[in-house]
Symmetry: C2
Subunit: 143 residues, 2 copies
């Protein structure tokens, strides 16, 4: 999660909403990414999506069976579903996202009958630090 | 929708689940795509995602305000959320997807308080034909 926090801070320094994600398989980091929606002009370029796509490209496979995802913010419904499709084993996330989350809020994707693979979910992993990075970013933007 | 059906058939011919999508803005097609999850080793490479990303790249913007998406199958939760994030105006879809859909089934993303933009939704647009393409594909795979 420390590396995901580093990716989040780097995203914030680029003017992106500061969220970072890391894919780990067998104790090794396979891919890491920060949010790049603005830079790439791509509304799907959330940190989780970029990390999943990079990990799949790195491994040359469509699924990440046995791999875990660390992300600093509760995934939205788009990312929650992508995590499911990638067959990730565990999801560790930092801050809760009551306004936009899709795991513990809103769509609650993994609790739906249309979800055919749910990762084990661990929330509030370095949640306070992850939340502070986001709050500081938005406070600075308002100034 | 005719062009989306053509993209769906082309995807099926490539061995991909046959779903196609087209983005239209001001009466002109901006982007079109078929499902390429296998070819790209990318679980996020659904037709809608590829069409949205291509349209954003074509227009050089992160949002597709005023644009409409035609897709042959009810979008899943991932694609439904991406359609929302892209601020698409209207969503026209073909066949219903009770097992994996995220618009009229499961996550019902546009009905959630975590959804901050919902397109106008028009379902069952050439739904019978879109459904037949999918049924024929899976029937042929079972043989």
């Amino acid at each position: 999660m420390e590396q995901a926090l580093t990716e989040a801070r780097a995203a914030g320094a680029r003017g992106e909403v500061p969220v970072g994600a890391v894919v780990v398989l067998g104790g090794a980091v396979v891919a890491r990414a920060g949010n790049r929606t603005r830079e790439l002009n791509d509304p799907t370029a959330h940190a989780e999506m970029l990390a999943i796509r990079a990990a799949c490209a790195e491994l040359g496979q469509e699924r990440l069976v046995g791999a875990d995802l660390y992300v600093t913010l509760e995934p939205c419904a788009m990312c929650a579903a992508a995590i499911s499709f990638a067959r990730l084993r565990r999801l560790y996330y930092g801050a809760e996202d009551p306004k936009g989350g899709g795991v513990a809020h809103g769509a609650r994707f993994y609790a739906q009958p249309t979800c055919h693979h749910a990762p084990d979910v661990y929330s509030d992993i370095a949640g306070r630090e992850a939340g502070e990075i986001l709050r500081d970013f938005f406070a600075a933007r308002r100034d």
